[in-house]
Amino acid sequence: MKLSLGPVLYYWTRETLLDFYAAIAGSGVDIVYLGEVVCSRRHNLRLDDWLGLARDLSASGKEVVLSSQALIESESELKTLRRIADNGEFTVEANDMGAVRLLAGRVPFVAGPHLNIYNGETLAWFAGLGASRFVLPLELSRDILRELQSVRPAGIETEVFAYGRMPLAFSARCFTARHHNLPKDDCQFRCLDDADGLALRTRDKAAFLTLNGTQTQSAQVYDLSDSIGELRGLGVDAVRLSPQSSNMIGIIESFRERCAGRPGASLEGLRVAPPCNGYWYGVPGMEYRTPA
């Protein structure tokens, strides 16, 4: 089972991003997804910078995939999307049906977690369009995964989001700008202040959600580290770890060990928040069950 690193979902400084990926180049991940998935206003790395990073990581032996933006609303966003689709060097992860249109039948692509591949018929359709891998939607359970695996066409790999705060929703509205009473068009890039997002708590002070610009994430960290054997048994080809600002190398090493069938280091103390894994068991996503 391969280990993949999902795209950085937060807005980090250019220096932080470059340092982060320099460390990733020497880490144990097999696949690295690169690019801005959340907000087209974020610009610390431009597409040419991402492509440069992609070449560096590729030279370090990583399989590199360029991730496209999830919510595409404007012509300028479509222009960027076309450049990504036409890059001619790296596989693209489509996170919107517009991206699928630009890739289908031309080049193999990764069908990302935001494309709503919920059933065998839709999975077969994507395989026919040229998807070489698909990422299971976050809210689907192991039981549904088992069903999908039973009818999965030859030639398409399965990837499962297995670690990180979950991207649960996208909006045209920027909730970080809203928090700072700023219009989205003049947001002053305040999301730079929140390396792991901005905590949203209930009025009785329970951790609930995480605001990340136009994206809303879980407060808790989805963690399937104790279910790696089960994932392997289901024929999953890759597990995705979603980046956080600290301890990422330690988390990768622990997963690497677990993927090799060894007991990896505990993630207690490495996670930015307590774990949840409800979706895996077909119950509310925020819940946590101790794996049998």
Binding site: M97, A99, R101, T122, S171, L200, R201, L209, Y279
Partner: protein
């Protein structure tokens, strides 16, 4: 309906010529029917289309006591057709795993019944409908989350969709850009409850309750709601999560999870969205100018009285616009009538208005 209506190149649009012989497009009115009484009052009050769902998880308003079985769907269709209206069946949730045959039977049933079109979100299901029932008209559901013309044109190219419903995330200028770049007639929401997240890609409800619009056709389901009174305050919880806390005298609205008051950096406010609803009536001339094919009213979960009032008022507004596009303005009694039935305390233009974002 305006007497000068002509049907031109686009069979789903109504057009007329204004005094300067400019072609003006008159949007059709698409109204919700949670049950047969709602369907009838929608038709009686001038809906061009009514949309409904079956009594199961195949549609995105899968609420107890709501929706249609085969007999009531058949009666509804007869009623709509007798009045010259058309009926849409929403089959707009995502079958999971190996469950697609149940959704496919719903498509078959719609074709057998002679439903005018089905509203579909799942690509596999659209493919099934296009291959098995090529005569059945396909509308792309808002749940398909197609927010740009490349996405919409892809569904058109692959499945021949006849209309697409836009998610409530685009500004007016962005809506215009979509219309300009697609052959697919575009439907937009004009009134009703407002999703702040892009439809079809929001898992907040399943995160809290295990059920979401995509998987179960529900958001913040009533069975997960608990009201708790503590002295003067009333807590609204969704599967234990405190969505809002109301002081004595405050209007306690339904705890839709994105519309509660939360705490961010020690500040308590509507961090995601106020409990407001969409009302785009003042944008009717702009929507018509853009070339919008249809305006959709949200609210299959609402009462027949709501459906009757909203349909009547929007029919009056669209007809008034058709009679004299240049002089259209929102009448006070329309605005008051809509305010009386709206959810929440305030109206918004939502994403149509750039500042909302």
């Amino acid at each position: 309906m305006a007497s000068t209506v002509l049907s031109l190149c686009n069979p789903t649009n109504h057009y007329l010529f204004d005094r300067a012989t400019r072609i003006v497009s008159i949007p059709e009115l698409v109204c919700p029917a949670g049950n047969l009484p709602s369907l009838k009052v929608a038709v009686d009050n001038g809906a061009d289309w009514v949309y409904m769902g079956l009594k199961d998880e195949t549609n995105a308003r899968n609420f107890a006591g709501l929706n249609f079985d085969a007999a009531s769907a058949s009666e509804g269709l007869r009623y709509a057709h007798a009045a010259g209206a058309k009926m849409l069946l929403a089959i707009n949730t995502f079958p999971q795993g190996l469950a697609a045959p149940r959704w496919q039977r719903a498509i078959d049933g719609a074709a057998d019944l002679g439903i005018d079109a089905v509203i579909v979100a799942d690509a596999g299901l659209m493919r099934y409908a296009a291959e098995r029932h090529p005569q059945l008209r396909l509308h792309l559901s808002v749940q398909a989350s197609a927010t740009n013309y490349e996405a919409i044109n892809f569904y058109h190219q692959r499945f021949g969709i006849s209309r697409a419903v836009l998610p409530r995330v685009l500004s007016l200028a962005q809506v215009a850009d979509v219309v300009k770049n697609t052959p697919v007639p575009i439907e937009v929401f004009g009134f009703g409850s407002l999703c702040v997240m892009v439809e079809g890609r929001c898992a907040l409800s399943s995160y809290v309750t295990g059920e979401s619009p995509n998987t179960s056709g529900v958001c913040s389901p009533a069975k997960a709601v608990r009201w708790e009174k503590h002295g003067d305050t009333l807590d609204a919880r969704l599967n234990g999560i405190l969505i809002d806390r109301f002081a004595a005298g405050e209007n306690a609205g339904y705890p839709t999870l994105c519309k509660g008051r939360f705490n961010v950096d020690d500040e308590t406010y509507y961090a995601i969205e106020e409990p407001s609803s969409l009302n785009a009536m003042e944008l009717l001339p702009e929507l018509a100018n853009i070339g919008i094919a249809a305006i959709k009213i949200e609210g299959r979960q609402r009462s027949p009285a709501y459906v009757a009032a909203v349909t009547r008022i929007w029919r009056a507004a669209i007809d008034a616009y058709a009679r004299n596009p240049a002089r259209f303005s929102v009448h006070a009694d329309w605005a008051n009538g809509l305010a009386r039935v709206a959810e929440g305390q305030q109206h918004t233009l939502g994403a149509y208005h750039r500042k909302w974002k």
